[in-house]
């Protein structure tokens, strides 16, 4: 099965991070594709944008944002969206993604991915905003399931049902982060397999896999380590439902050498159905 948006399986990619800029430009490693943290390139005319232009010339890229604040009750920031749209054009990005969350209200940005209450009110509110954003961007938006550390007493819908209904109501795509599913399942005590099985597979255009930090009482989504076997098992389960889908390994803290991050990402290939494994782009 392929996604209903006909967005391509780009293979196994990694996030474009500053510490790897030099090696990527110099060695042009055989990495399938790069995910680009949009906000790092929207307001700069410096080296990051120069590097991104070089990378986008050679590799497929997708934009991944952290400041759309799609669930916020503040007005939509169309100036931000305008810059995002231009960056997507400039890099020929295959898609644009952000998170099911809010990042601030009253004009402030906490720069955190804050959780939504899963209520009918929040669902109507968010779906309306996703439709507006997609109309403006003139392309489907992929929304990522968040990691969260609180649950709201007012929530009347499970997170997976909320995501499924939101995707249907707004006709948007999904970025399924299997590490986030695991983190939230630990923090909130639900069965992650139930979550994976409830996600509309034909709307998933990308996977995230990552490591986390287990504090004992709760797990923090730090992207600072190798993924644990349970997370890979969720990836395997999800991939069996979606079929060939672009996969991205996230490593954002204590970032090791490029070869280490890439090797971790390539583990994804072993969890895909062999007959559906894709080739390498880029180099």
């Amino acid at each position: 099965m392929f996604n209903r948006f006909s967005l391509p399986d780009l293979g196994v990619g990694i996030g474009l991070r500053t510490v790897h800029f030099g090696e990527i430009l110099a060695k042009k490693p055989p990495i399938d594709w790069f995910e680009v943290l949009s906000e790092n390139f929207l307001d700069t005319g410096g080296r990051p944008l120069y590097v991104l232009d070089q990378v986008a010339e050679r590799y497929p890229v997708a934009l991944h944002g952290v400041s759309m604040s799609i669930g916020s009750t503040d007005p939509i920031d169309f100036a931000y969206l305008g810059k995002l749209k231009e960056l997507a054009r400039r890099t020929r990005a295959h898609w644009i993604s952000d998170h099911l969350c809010w990042t601030g209200v009253m004009g402030r940005n906490t720069h955190d991915l804050l959780p939504m209450p899963y209520t009918e009110e929040a669902l109507r509110h968010t779906a309306g905003r996703v439709r507006q954003v997609q109309d403006f961007l003139e392309r489907p938006l992929a929304l990522e399931n968040p990691s969260s550390y609180v649950e709201f007493a007012a929530s009347s819908i499970s997170e997976w049902e909320f995501l499924a209904r939101l995707a249907e109501d707004a006709d948007c795509a999904l970025l399924l982060d299997v590490n986030n599913v695991y983190v939230s399942s630990f923090n909130h005590g639900f069965d992650p397999a139930v979550y994976i099985d409830a996600i509309p597979a034909d709307r998933v255009v990308q996977f995230h896999v990552a490591g986390h930090t287990n504090k004992g009482t709760h797990i923090i989504d730090t992207h600072s380590d190798h993924a644990i076997p349970e997370v890979w098992e969720l990836y395997r389960r999800a991939w069996a439902r979606t079929g060939p889908t672009a996969t991205l390994y996230e490593w954002d803290e204590d970032i090791p050498e490029l070869s280490v991050v890439h090797a971790e990402a390539l583990l994804a290939r072993g969890h895909r159905e062999p007959q559906r494994a894709t080739g390498t782009h880029g180099a």
């Binding site: 307001d43 410096g46 916020s72 720069h111 804050l114 709201f152």
Partner: protein, 278 residues
């Protein structure tokens, strides 16, 4: 049972708690207008291992750490001078007054130098202010637009008689700064991980900050060179600016040899982007 809280009120309340500079208990008390602290359990559920307040504290605790990390990347020398605790306290106070209002963390520190100037309880605020000014100039040069630099062909195309009225435009990332303290030396020792830091004692420094080929540079200047560059980048014709430098420089007035050396250096390192002869 859940407390009836609409989405807008819930978000206002949660943000107020998260960005509060004190303990989470103090934050909950301060945000009681939106949600009474004793009714927290009707808004946030406990987990198997954490109370509602402890769960909220995960977000609350990470907020200032994230702000500190962002500002420390732009102000490494200021952080070094103040120490980890002193810098964290400064960040805590600063973001209460100047929180992020952008999709990006890049502009978060734009008002830090002005804030430092009047911050209470800060060790050597005058030194800190100048150090912050320099680090802000470097950060802004890093993100500024790339402009082509003046090349030999453009210089050769200017007829000799046109130079007196010519105006030189600096590259977009160019900043000219003057200090009463050796903050450029201090920054360099921090970047070099050299522990022989200069004291925060009066010592004039004149610095040009600019970017060439996506790398930010800091150029040490004499006062006379600084003043001449200031006149040039303000748009004064070359002949007029040099004449002023010779007339008002007194003992510091540059010799012809020095002038030639400065211009050769400024052009070669990429300070200027164009020369206008009209």
């Amino acid at each position: 049972m859940a407390l009836e809280v609409g989405l807008d009120r819930l978000q206002r309340w949660m943000q107020a708690v998260i960005v509060h500079p004190g303990l989470v208990e103090d934050a909950l008390a301060a945000a009681a207008d939106e949600v009474p602290a004793q009714r927290l359990g009707e808004v946030i559920l406990p987990s198997r291992t954490l109370t509602p307040a402890e769960r909220l504290d995960v977000y609350h605790g990470m907020y200032l750490l994230r702000m500190e990390e962002a500002l420390a990347s732009d102000y490494p020398a200021l952080k070094h001078f103040l120490g980890d605790e002193g810098f964290f306290d400064l960040v805590r106070d600063y973001v209460q007054v100047h929180p992020s209002r952008s999709f990006s963390l890049n502009p978060l520190g734009y008002r830090l130098p002005e804030f430092v100037k009047t911050a209470s309880g800060l060790e050597r605020p005058d030194f800190c202010y100048e150090l912050a000014q320099l680090e802000l100039a470097v950060a802004q040069a890093f993100d500024g637009p790339e402009t082509a630099r003046l090349g030999e062909a453009a210089i050769a195309a200017v007829p000799p008689e046109a130079w007196e009225a010519a105006r030189l435009a600096p590259v977009a990332t160019f900043r000219l700064l003057s200090f009463r303290y050796p903050v450029n030396d201090y920054l360099q020792t921090v970047l070099d991980d050299d522990h022989d830091h200069p004291k925060a004692r009066l010592k004039d420094q004149w610095i040009a900050v600019y970017r060439r080929d996506y790398v930010v540079y800091r150029l040490d200047l004499t006062r006379a060179a600084h003043d001449l560059l200031a006149a040039l980048v303000s748009g004064r014709p070359l002949g007029n600016a040099i004449g002023e430098a010779l007339k008002t420089g007194g003992k510091r007035a540059p010799s012809e040899h020095e002038l030639f050396r400065w211009f050769r250096q400024w052009v070669s390192v990429g300070v200027f982007q164009s020369v206008e002869t009209r």
